[in-house]
């Protein structure tokens, strides 16, 4: 059976893409952020995942408001990035894993998640930047990918509890996937930030650090919040925390923290990365 080796939560601020393109990783502004990934790179060299499942949110590249799925699962053999309008370089395509995608899709629908299935899906910076941070190099594509998009744009948003359960169902699907693949799960975005309104620039360090702690040992405490309570505590765009909560839900085994870094600010955002190792659960458990 496939094995979930761990989970990573990471910020996906667009400006990071610009910094990578201009090789600014060692500049004083960027160094405290990029240095937070060295330990992740060391861990990835040992953990050697074959596939990554990425929980992220689209910012108006693939999905517009004409049709806005709450949860959308990619089911393609390749995912393209494209021009998002404000100048970060377009990334090379990413290999998909349509067999694993369809396995996850079948499992999710059997578990009563009414998802949207996407055989074509453009992936935006919320998908490309985390992969560039984990595996630096413009054309580096060492893993296959399964994108899972969560709506964090158009209210009403799914609840943290629902996102956690979605993650759990994805985790069980992977635990019961007949392959030898080593799977890493990523949740992208956040942490606290707000781009709009008179509260623009809002950052909440206390809340972010509490969330990073709870994500390790007590994620259920975060699922008691509503999405609007997260907006209140983490800012309108800080609600991207939902992607991290889904990632944590997918870690079905024994979880231990291997690394974290937290740095304010990157652009308007409290930037963060969290690495959780997962001692895989037993396969063939019932969905539900």
């Amino acid at each position: 059976m496939a094995q979930i080796v761990g989970g990573v939560g990471t910020t996906h601020v667009p400006a990071i893409g610009g910094a990578i393109a201009r090789h600014l990783e060692r500049e004083p502004y960027w160094k405290p952020f990029f240095d937070g990934f060295h330990e992740i790179h060391r861990w990835l060299n040992v953990a050697r995942p074959d596939v990554v499942v990425v929980f992220y949110n689209d910012h108006g590249l693939n999905f517009f408001l004409d049709k806005m799925p709450t949860f959308a699962v990619g089911a393609a053999d390749e995912y393209k990035n494209a021009d998002e309008g404000w100048g970060i370089p377009v990334a090379q395509p990413y290999p998909g894993d349509s067999a694993l995608s369809w396995h996850i899709i079948n499992w999710l629908v059997e578990s009563d998640f009414d998802i949207t299935m996407c055989q074509q899906m453009l992936v935006d910076h919320a998908f490309t930047i985390p992969l560039s941070l984990l595996w630096p190099g413009r054309d580096t594509r060492p893993v296959r990918t399964v994108p899972i998009c969560i709506n964090t744009v158009q209210h009403p948003l799914p609840s943290p509890d629902r996102c956690f359960r979605l993650g759990q169902a994805v985790g069980r699907a992977i635990d019961n996937y007949a392959s030898n693949d080593r799977v890493l799960v990523i949740g992208t975005g956040g942490l606290s930030h707000q781009l709009d309104g008179e509260r623009a620039g809002f950052i909440n360090k206390t809340f972010d650090l509490m969330c990073m702690d709870k994500l390790v040992d007590a994620p259920q405490e975060l699922t008691k919040l509503s999405s609007l309570e997260i907006v209140e505590q983490a800012g309108s765009q800080g609600v991207e925390l939902l992607n991290w909560i889904a990632m944590r839900g997918a870690l079905t085994g024994r979880v231990s923290k291997r690394h974290q870094n937290y740095h304010i600010p990157i652009s308007n955002t409290a930037s963060a990365v969290l690495l959780l190792e997962n001692d895989a659960a037993e396969p063939l458990r019932k969905a539900g």
Partner: protein, 112 residues
């Protein structure tokens, strides 16, 4: 009853319905060709997308606050702001009535 969070626009159904034309225009700015067409004739481009008078006025004023009041969503508006050469610190400063330097300093302060 609607929940409100001070200083925080919630992009709900009411906002999405009100802002559809404006957001749809901004969504079109994923294409270089469309960004160029907007710059060639801003009024004609806004009319083509059926923007309301309030939305057209907000775009003319380059006022992100007014655009949000007219139903704009910041993720889409960021694509329009990009055409004007404004990044998220610029639009943050604009919305809070601060200078860009003061806005950036406040972000730095949040980390201390």
């Amino acid at each position: 009853m609607k929940q409100t969070i001070p200083g925080t626009p919630i992009f709900d159904g009411d906002a999405a319905r009100k802002g559809f034309a404006l957001n749809q225009m901004c969504f079109s700015f994923n294409s270089e060709e469309n960004r160029a067409a907007f710059l060639r004739d801003e009024d004609a481009y806004c009319r083509r997308y059926g923007l309301t008078d309030a939305q057209i006025a907000a775009v003319k004023k380059r006022s992100v606050r007014d655009m949000i009041d007219a139903g704009g969503n910041v993720y889409y508006l960021a694509k329009l702001a990009g055409i004007f050469g404004l990044n998220v610190q610029d639009i943050g400063a604009q919305q809070t009535g601060m200078s860009v330097e003061a806005f950036k300093e406040r972000l730095q302060q949040a980390g201390r």
